[in-house]
């Protein structure tokens, strides 16, 4: 029995990956948990140029979830390649560079710099607001997503995941379009778009009005979308959204995910991912599964 699993040609020690934006560049958690045991780590969302992120309140806890409005604060791709990436690689787990952008040119230039930089996998985040399209995210309309995936595919030669938004107008059509444009795999779901209002000031809590909802609250929705995506495409799908325990992870693997990501639950318990790794191992032994792919429902 082995937890080792292949993702886009990269061998992961196990199928448990830390989700982008929830694990910094890995080193932040190195003092708290044994980071080397993880299957992979997605970097904080990167953009070509550094971004300071949003002003005002950035987080609000909700029922079994949290809204965040960090706004892509990151040091920029060049800084990442020079400083954070070497340190990430030294941690052991597979390194997944998560890339966003405000327009296609920024995506492409970021991808070009990352190509050959040493990251194991590129995760293309198409949930960023498109500055040329009034701020509607690239990941909503299939045709818009298609263009950014096509352009980045030309610029990046390594294995590439496209991270889908649950706000996609037609998720399975979106998944198929990404596959057709050369994505090697998909990851989903990104955060749901939510909102919170301060009832005393009667204004949105967040300057940007909306914010991304994550956490156990969204798990049932994420699982349904992962199931649908797995049946729409033949490339691997990485499942995420509210996974907080091995049982959740097993549900996504049964639904057809090749690997899973743990995000917000790490904030509740820093060792969530490690206990998922342990729990999946015990689950596999109990059921006599030899490898992760055996977990998938027939």
């Amino acid at each position: 029995m082995t937890l080792e699993t292949d993702l886009l040609g990269v061998t992961l020690k196990n199928p448990v990956i830390m989700a982008s934006g929830t694990f910094g560049f890995g080193e932040e958690y190195a003092g708290l948990i044994d980071v080397s045991r993880l299957g992979g780590i997605c970097s904080k969302g990167l953009t070509l140029r550094p971004r300071a992120g949003n002003d005002g309140v950035r987080m609000s806890e909700t029922a079994a979830g949290m809204l965040n409005s960090v706004g892509m604060q990151n040091p920029g791709v060049p800084h990442f390649i020079e400083r954070e990436l070497p340190a990430m690689k030294a941690l052991g787990p597979a390194v997944i560079a998560n890339l966003g952008g405000g327009d296609i040119e920024e995506y492409v230039e970021g991808a070009r710099l990352l190509d050959g930089s040493g990251a194991d996998i590129l995760e293309l985040n198409i949930s960023c607001p498109n500055v040329k399209d009034g701020g509607m995210a690239f990941g909503i309309k299939t045709q818009v997503a298609r263009e950014v995936v096509r352009a980045v595919r030309r610029a990046y030669s390594g294995p590439m995941l496209v991270k889908l938004s649950p706000g996609a107008e037609n998720l399975t059509e979106m998944a198929k379009a990404c596959e057709a444009e050369g994505a090697d795999g998909l990851s989903l779901i990104n955060t749901l778009v939510g909102m919170a209002i301060d009832v005393e000031t009667r204004r949105s809590l967040f300057r940007n009005r909306v914010a991304g909802l994550s956490g156990p609250a969204i798990k049932p929705v994420a699982l349904r979308m992962v199931w649908d995506a797995c049946r729409a495409v033949s490339i691997p799908v990485v499942g995420l959204g509210g996974i907080a325990a091995w049982r959740d992870a097993a549900e996504f693997l049964i639904a057809g995910a090749a690997a899973i990501q743990v995000g917000t639950a790490t904030f509740s318990r820093p060792d969530t991912a490690l206990s998922i790794i342990d729990g999946l191992g015990e689950y596999m032994s109990r059921h006599g599964f030899e490898r992760i792919s055996d977990i998938r429902a027939c």
Binding site: Y29, I33, G53, V57, E61, F267, P270, D271
Partner: protein, 247 residues
């Protein structure tokens, strides 16, 4: 740093909205550091960032103010209940960089970190005066009297000490350094007075946090130079001139 589920040793309310909780943990911590506290069986997703109030032997003391569901949950913990403690986190006060007579300024529940700070200063042979401000009934001021040369209390209601703000009484000229933790308005006033007097000041900030370790970037504050600083990992203690306290 640890992230462990420990049994609550004691938990009592000092005032209707101010509680004091203790646990036993061996790992060392610096004054001004904090922990994420999350009841293991609680309904909240996230821990709450609470300053270390005191540490004697291996007993850690935390003071919290009930401001929402998370802190209300802390207040309901009883002896023996499982509580996840993650920490110590953040930088803490740079006591090794400070010498001479120190002023410790605490406002409300911001008084908490000053207790362990005063204790550590005394152990280092430093002397400190404390200036403690409260809206109404004071707390921890008696403990502070045992650890400081002089303790000045002010309350907005006038129920104890001077009526009004302790920042109006405090004179930065008399001190080699100032350490402050309290509401934003207090920290602004202290930073301004210290700047005018040329006295170095360190401020301990608070903010909503998720990870507590610098990974998630939800707790940032504005640096004076324009960039964002992480309250959890770059702070919670900042030099007065490092940060912007504008709304």
């Amino acid at each position: 740093m640890l992230s462990e589920v420990l049994a609550v040793r004691s938990n009592e309310m000092l005032l209707p909205d101010i509680g004091r909780l203790t646990v036993e943990a061996a790992a060392p911590a610096r004054p001004g550091q904090f922990y994420m506290l999350r009841p293991e069986h609680g309904a909240m997703l996230l821990g709450r960032a609470i300053s270390l109030c005191d540490r004697q032997g291996e007993i850690l003391t935390f003071l919290y103010k009930i401001v929402g569901k998370g802190t209300a949950e802390l207040s309901r913990l009883r002896e023996g209940d499982p509580l996840r403690l993650t920490g110590p986190l953040g930088n803490g006060f740079p006591l090794e960089d400070i010498s001479g007579k120190i002023a410790l300024i605490g406002g409300g529940v911001g008084v908490a970190p000053m207790v362990y700070t005063a204790r550590a200063l005394r152990e280092r042979g430093n002397t400190a005066d404390a200036f403690l401000g409260y809206p109404d009934s004071p707390y921890l001021h008696e403990t502070m009297k045992t650890l400081c040369d002089k303790v000045t209390v002010a309350t907005e209601s006038g129920v104890c000490g001077a009526k009004g703000y302790v920042t109006d009484i405090f004179d930065p000229e008399k001190y080699a350094a100032v350490l402050c933790c309290g509401p934003l308005a207090m920290m602004r006033a202290v930073a301004e007075k210290c700047k005018a007097a040329g006295t170095p000041v360190w401020l301990s900030l608070e903010n909503r946090m998720a990870c507590g370790v610098g990974a998630c970037l939800v707790c940032t504050c504005k640096g004076k130079s324009g960039g964002n600083l992480r309250v959890c990992a770059d702070g919670p203690v900042f030099r007065g001139e490092e940060i912007s306290l504008d709304a």
